[in-house]
Assembly symmetry: C2
Homo-oligomer: 259 residues x 2
């Protein structure tokens, strides 16, 4: 088995290190990750700049390959240029901070797993609902289990798993739930400042706000202390709305003759 480990917090992130060590207990593991933090980059790819790959060592031990560019770039480079053959599984994380609700669309952690899925690799994103880096053990234990399950069962074409781990000691974890993506919003705002030359600039601020209390959704289940597993795809069609919009008569009223 070959396991590709990546993330969006960059190759030096402790969550990546913990995940890579856990994966090595399963089988051959290669780390390919962005050379710096790339949080909130969404599914960006780099078309207008060249990309580079650097081998990274710490205390003479080979850590993995750092890539310039985004998490999706790192996955493409890992699969097409670094590994000799397609890995059996890809896991992205362990992200510092949950990826539930609307944050999925901003998440570099999830986008790395999406890119793996596009390349035909069973892929998992894993995030820890914490802003500190102290204890990865619940997340790494679950990562080993879910990777083994994916290796055994496979994943349907075009589907990845998005996993979130509550920041709780093992004895306080309520259980594991397979849930849908919940609803969140952002109360974002900009803080206006002035630079030393008198020019205005802005910092994006704000936090995620839960707009969901359905216990079968990731937002609520995670807040209630469950490990959440959400199957995610990239068919973005709002099927419920297809019918509704057909009632508008766009197809008739704005037909060829009308143009």
């Amino acid at each position: 088995m070959t396991i590709l480990v990546t993330n969006d917090d960059g190759i030096y992130a402790p969550g990546l290190d913990a995940l890579a060590k856990a994966m090595k207990t399963i089988d051959n593991t290669t780390v390919v990750a962005p050379d710096r933090e790339q949080s909130a980059v969404g599914h960006a790819i780099t078309l207008s700049n060249p990309l580079r790959i650097t081998e990274v060592y710490r205390d003479r031990e080979f850590l993995g390959y750092a890539c310039s560019g985004t998490p999706a770039d790192a996955v493409k480079l890992g699969v097409k240029e670094i590994l000799d053959e397609k890995p059996d599984v890809l896991i992205s994380g362990i992200n510092v901070g949950a990826n539930v609700g609307a944050s999925l669309i901003y998440s570099g952690t999830v986008s790395a797993a999406t890119e793996g899925t596009l390349l035909g690799i069973p892929s998992i994103a894993i995030s820890l609902d914490s802003r500190s880096n102290d204890d990865w053990s619940v997340a790494t234990d679950f990562a080993i289990k879910i990777v083994n399950m994916v290796l055994k069962n496979g994943l349907p074409e075009g589907v990845l798993l998005n996993v979130n781990i509550p920041k709780l000691p093992p004895e306080n974890i309520q259980g594991i739930k397979i849930v849908a993506q919940g609803k969140t919003n952002f109360n974002d705002f900009f803080e206006e400042r002035e630079d030393p030359r008198g020019h205005k600039y802005f910092w994006m601020c704000g936090t995620m706000v839960a707009e969901d209390d359905n216990p079968e959704h990731d937002v609520t289940a995670l807040a209630q202390g469950y490990i959440t597993v959400t199957p995610v795809h990239y068919n973005l069609t709002a099927y419920d709305t297809l019918k509704e919009i057909r009632k508008w008569g766009i197809e008739n009223e704005l037909g060829v003759d009308a143009i």
Copy 2:
């Protein structure tokens, strides 16, 4: 009515100019767009750099506001810092190149409309299936019609419209179809080069490949000469797979006791 126009090709793009002029025939229009091309940035937002806003003029005529950062940044800044109140509609484009199939997840054009939707604004992304910039008339005519329809009918919460225009003269357009997102893949690869100092670097190459011949999907309908309209949401749950994965017994086998 207030209309917010944005794009991912940058404030100087001819497709943005054509779209803004068309929107001005409807009502008050404000342009807020990235200060440079931001294609394939996905739903990136800028958290670790400050953002700036610049007023842009051409031939003494005010064009709009240029923002450093991504299309999603531009929309957030436009709504929170530039406009006095939330616009009645947002339209992003006209993109040079179609946004169908899997390219939706990479598209800055679509992500700007997604950000508008997250902010509670009825939003539309519009793209022209062409790599040249010569004739925007079919796209601008349709943009005026679809914006008027959205202003009249509204859009369901959390849903945007993704519009694609074939590169055909008006008389060869086959009609308008409301369709689902189709399937595509990418035959991407990296071209390896050496810089003047002897270091390796890579350019991302490749094109989109249709993997879909369903005439009710955007990929095929657009190729057959139809204007396509796809309702898009950002609930990424693969509902079909929820049941399948529950059969694995993750919830039981990997329960609290097992951790």
